[in-house]
Assembly symmetry: C2
Homo-oligomer: 337 residues x 2
Amino acid sequence: MDGQATRSPAMTDVARLAGVSHQTVSRVLNDHPNVREQTRLRVRAAIAELGYRPNRAARALVTGRSQLIGIVAQNSTLYGPASLLAAFEQAAAEAGFAVSVGSVGRLDRESIAGAVERHLDQRVAGLVVIAPVKSADDALEGMPAGVPLVTIDGDPERSHTLVTVDQAAGARAATRHLLAAGHRTVWHISGPPDWYDAAWRIEGWLAALREAGAEVPPLVNADWSAASGYDAGRMLARMPEVTAVFAANDHQALGLLRAFSEHGRRVPQDVSVVGFDDVPEAAFFIPPLTTVRPSFSAVARAGLDLLLAQITDPGTPPNRVVIAPVLVERASVAPPG
Amino acid sequence: MDGQATRSPAMTDVARLAGVSHQTVSRVLNDHPNVREQTRLRVRAAIAELGYRPNRAARALVTGRSQLIGIVAQNSTLYGPASLLAAFEQAAAEAGFAVSVGSVGRLDRESIAGAVERHLDQRVAGLVVIAPVKSADDALEGMPAGVPLVTIDGDPERSHTLVTVDQAAGARAATRHLLAAGHRTVWHISGPPDWYDAAWRIEGWLAALREAGAEVPPLVNADWSAASGYDAGRMLARMPEVTAVFAANDHQALGLLRAFSEHGRRVPQDVSVVGFDDVPEAAFFIPPLTTVRPSFSAVARAGLDLLLAQITDPGTPPNRVVIAPVLVERASVAPPG
DNA sequence: GAGGATCTTGTTATCGCTAACAATGGCGGG
DNA sequence: CCCGCCATTGTTAGCGATAACAAGATCCTC
């Protein structure tokens, strides 16, 4: 016997050892009330002795439930998505769900659709899609109904359940903060135009300027990278009238700071800068960056709660949760001149 | 019929529609050679018409193979682990494996052991553990033999398969580079002492100093954070004899740069700095940071290859792959004085 | 103390698939 | 023309769990 490659023990093995039927073992495993205490202990002992662990595949087959949640995210080290992913795994693990990750190289329709397909193949109980761009949302159109779905930072026009960070509010707070410091107006370096996050940050920025009756300077387009922030900064640094800039994320702000530094424009004495995300390093930029902090863990918790609600009760209507970000004040903002 | 909640189609449904037995459908699905072309097409058509997708649980149950790979990583936005995770998912997806992630809050023994347990419960075909500290390796001791396992940046003394970045070589290159620029010696800010990565970087630093016959200054302890780099920098900035510093990672280096900037010590004119990791932002630090770049995608590819080899042939002996990092020269290094 | 409710346990069927074997029909060789 | 081989397809038996039902044992009530 010992010489053989022993297959891992099944429920019947436990049953035999404990002197009960396999069904009783199943009952013990699932905490059914009607099992005598003594029997329960015998079964538990047998389980421990054999090192038995239930076969999820068999259980999934008969119950039709997989206890698996799929997450689709962009394969990137962008701070926001990466944090979200980690927070989600944590929250799901606590709820007894396993998390399967489908990471995509780009957020185009095909990539997202492919990742979703792979998850459906696995019969996930629910799906979380971090879908901050239109093409991602589009890819979800064709999804079979009935699969619980939560999107993060997706399009609020869509009908499915959604968790978003209130980007516009964050952007408005950032812009107001700069105006309150005495700046006549605030320039904005935006994220890639197809990202909703970027669009809402623009919207919040515009709203704050209009509320204050400030002149609206031309929008500076960029992507999320430090490189694009640097490029934008090299241009802005030549324009003396630019005294306050709101960057769409902290990495851009970093590039911006360097461009200003190279051109001899001091931050915050000559130019004030505010970022978005509050990456852990933001406090150590030169100077420390005032920025907007969204709570990724709050997003993840809310998202998972909504998803579990849908899984438990498929009738749950689409829902919407908005997480408010907070402004973190550091040294990169000062009055003009 | 349409009024009923229709359960998703099974193989027999496809078989009925195509006018064959379910076994023939199975053969088509698994690309068995002995199926008439015409039959194959009929089955394919039926599959498409019903939108049939095979039930992984049923397949896993009968074959005993799960096509699932588990990854255990720290739940953090540390750049290294996050990049590795993304790279792994990508590589595994290409090989037709799903990836289940178990993220842990801390890298202590219990957390790791728990995450491993959860994966074993899921009957993963193989396990990748990013285990850069001793406690993580320890947690793997008790693992049942026979589960394919690859650790990343783990302890080379252990007997299991391992992929590591050659931290020592990277550290030596960084230190040599500073010495070659004319510095009499190089100070080092280290990572947390229980991380192997940190230990090897210290080792490489020491080796380079000794090779060159340079004096070995006291080691400055820190963790991976920008904050700890900043603290270390505030101390080093007061010491005029410090002209070259090798930081254990880029975030520390960022904190260092800010501390030097605050104390009026210019980089690179007064002090040269080299980091480790090459985070995307490193090129936009003030000044742009010379650093060491490990290839995370190479690590992930190598790790997955080794894992798949073990999965396919359980007899595969433990193996070891070392990935060499490269020095990326930017503007943070100059001759002294 | 009889009868029914309740607790406890066991028996059987079933989930959807693959593996093993059986059955059929066409083909070529002797 | 018979036999055996191969290509093709079907039949049957599980994989390891849960669900549904059945059946003793125990308990309570009147």
